[in-house]
């Protein structure tokens, strides 16, 4: 299998799906020039199906809903921090429309939301808002943790018939890994046990998965056997795989780069504390970003989000 980057995997998924289905198109700001990597080379192949928009996120993210409602399959590219501006269209239209109208309409839309953190870009550009969207029914939510997942999940998102918020951790952009050459998709709602282990379950999201795996390797040497679970999608959430893993290990650590309060780490903890309580042998540890904004200063920013040390400490606490 060839090794490609996360960005290349996304680019491949979009290209292949645009070739397969004429109703797929992509829009966003300055994407024709390929500013953010992923869309490079698309406009020469797909012409008018690659649309540079004005700075009007609420407008064009809502336009995606309208286009989908009449039979198109829009992909929208943006950053998580720009979703605030478009929140009404995402919530009131994309998330609610199908239900409100009694299922009359399908809205096959993919909102690609880049996430920055850890690169000194300050509070306005470091949002990781998937927990908020998880609190709003109607949106499916995928969070790939590496190139192969990115490609397979994005293809599923594009082919599906519901609005999908697709969160791309930009810390993964340059990460390279093997990706199958043949056509494949990855179903939503199926978690992936990225590493088997028996002492403690670590559920890790987005860029944190790689860190969890690194910690697991290191702790192996200390005799701690860590199972690492990647939910891949949080709506739908594969509760069974998580519960089964905790049943085996009796201990749970959830690693989530979102702010801690009302995070996905909170949700998974709560779910296990309700549905898997009797299998738990220790307190559930959450390792999430502090409930503090991301400061610009390189001296401070690294203190806010989870790192290998914090993950390690949480695992120690869980197996103590």
């Amino acid at each position: 299998m060839p090794e490609i980057t996360f960005v290349e995997a996304l680019n491949q998924a979009i290209k292949e799906e645009m070739r397969r289905d004429e109703s797929v198109f992509i829009m966003g700001e300055s994407i024709r020039g390929g500013i953010y990597g992923v869309t490079g080379g698309l406009s020469s192949e797909f012409g008018d199906r690659v649309i540079d928009t004005p700075l009007s996120e609420n407008g064009f993210m809502g336009a995606a809903v309208g286009a989908a409602a009449v039979g198109m399959r829009p992909i929208v590219q943006s950053l998580s921090s720009f979703m605030w501006v478009a929140m009404d269209q995402l919530v009131s239209q994309a998330a609610k429309m199908r239900y409100m109208f009694g299922g009359q309409v399908n809205l096959p839309i993919v909102y690609r939301c880049g996430m920055n953190y850890g690169n000194n870009i300050a509070a306005h550009h470091t949002d990781r808002p998937y927990p908020m969207f998880m609190n709003m029914p109607g949106l499916k939510i995928a969070i790939p943790t590496g190139p192969a997942d990115a490609k397979g999940l994005l293809k599923t998102a594009i082919r599906g018939n519901d609005p999908v918020m697709f969160f791309e951790d930009n810390n993964l952009s340059g990460v390279r890994a093997e990706v199958p050459e043949e056509e494949y998709t990855i179903p939503f709602g199926v978690a992936d046990v990225k590493r088997e282990g028996s002492d403690v379950t670590v559920v890790a999201l987005a860029g944190m998965l790689r860190r969890a795996l690194a910690v697991a390797e290191a702790l192996e040497e200390e005799g701690i056997s860590v199972e690492v679970v990647d939910p891949r999608t949080i709506v739908p959430l594969d509760k069974d795989t998580i519960l089964k893993s905790v049943e085996k290990t009796g201990r749970l650590v959830v690693v989530d780069p979102a702010h801690k309060s009302c995070s996905v780490a909170s949700e998974i903890s709560a779910m296990v504390a309700q549905e898997g309580f009797w299998t738990l042998q220790a307190p559930i540890q959450r390792v999430a970003s502090l409930d503090c904004h991301f400061p610009f200063s390189p001296a401070l920013e690294k203190l806010v989000f989870p790192n290998e040390e914090k993950i390690t400490d949480a695992i120690y606490a869980a197996v103590a």
């Binding site: 928009t53 004005p54 336009a63 309208g66 286009a67 009449v70 039979g71 239900y99 309409v105 809205l107």
Partner: protein
């Protein structure tokens, strides 16, 4: 009946139907048969009816919270509308939408939005989609004077203008957003003046005159179908009722005078259209009365249909959430 007469009589019928529908809504709110919020369109019927008369069946519309009239004008089934209001499974949206969310996608009614101005970007997207598909459908987006002050309105108009999309922005300026006069919330004299900012035609229309609405919309539609882009129509109109049924009771201070309301009632859209039909010898009073009684029957039937329809079953609750279903978390 010749084509023209047929059109004019259909317009009369639809205005009467919408009026009767909303007169019924008033009663149903008072008797608490209708729960939730209800915003009557009484007094504004010529706007939706005139505009929709200029559309093809496969054209699209979007509406807002005050949208009983829009879907009926577009040809929506009055029985399904009534059933939706009562939360029945036979309603447009199987009872999930209610008064503010009537939609029938099968005939281009892309739905109403309870969030003010929120349907405008959706309308633009429908126009973008239909254009990408190489079709010549147009989209009419109904919104209020209040809605015109939302950022979504600016973004939608600018996008439609630069992409030359087949959208007709139809501002129903009934002069108030709840109790707030548009003169206090819009900096220009006419909302249609704002069209200049998007390099599109801006037309002020008499919203009480269905024919004026029909003609202005016909022109805008021609422009849109020809690929020349959007138009902003401002229909000057008036709502006779309170912002929503029952609101009058909790209003502490009056925001408009009885004289103002009366003056507008003198320009009732149904009266104006009827007078025109009779004066021009297109229809007799008997024919008009006949339409009125047909409408009364249609409303009666719709009411009966709605009342006799079943409520959705508890099992239907989570259905319709997703096209590709998932387990409830």
């Amino acid at each position: 009946m010749d084509e023209n007469k047929e059109l004019l009589m259909r317009m009369l019928r639809l205005m009467m139907l919408i009026r009767a529908f909303d007169e019924n809504v008033k009663v149903m709110v008072q008797s608490a048969e209708l729960v939730g919020a209800a915003h009557c369109y009484i007094g504004e019927e010529a706007v939706a009816v005139g505009a929709c008369a200029a559309l093809r069946d496969d054209d699209y519309i979007t509406g807002n919270h005050r949208s009983h009239g829009h879907p009926l004008a577009k040809g929506g089934d009055v029985r399904k509308a009534m059933a939706e209001l009562l939360g029945k499974s036979t309603g447009f949206c199987k009872g999930k939408g209610g008064s503010m969310h009537l939609a029938d996608f099968s005939i281009g009614i892309l739905g109403e939005s309870g969030i003010v101005a929120s349907a405008l970007p959706v309308a633009v997207g429908a126009a973008l989609g239909t254009k990408m598909q190489g079709k010549d459908r147009v989209v009419v987006s109904f919104f209020g004077d209040g809605a015109s002050n939302q950022g979504a309105c600016h973004e939608a108009m600018n996008l439609a203008a630069i992409w030359k999309l087949p959208v007709i922005f139809l501002c129903e300026n009934n002069q108030y957003a709840v109790t707030t006069s548009f003169n206090e919330s819009v900096a220009v004299e006419n909302i249609s003046d704002r069209a200049v900012a998007y390099n599109m035609p801006g037309v002020l229309v008499d919203g009480q005159d269905a024919m004026a609405m029909y003609e202005a919309t016909t022109q805008a539609v021609a422009r849109a179908r020809a690929g020349q882009g959007p138009t902003l129509l401002e229909a000057r109109t008036y709502r006779y009722e309170e912002h929503s049924e029952g609101l009058g009771r909790i209003l502490r201070e009056p925001y408009r005078t009885e004289e103002e309301i009366d003056a507008w009632r003198q320009r009732d859209p149904i009266d104006i259209h009827t007078a025109m039909l009779i004066e021009q010898g297109i229809a007799t009073q008997a024919e008009v009365d006949q339409v009125q009684s047909e409408v009364a029957t249609a409303i009666e039937e719709a009411l009966q249909f709605a009342r006799e329809s079943p409520y959705p079953a508890p099992e239907d609750l989570f259905g319709d959430m997703y096209a590709d279903p998932i387990p409830m978390p």
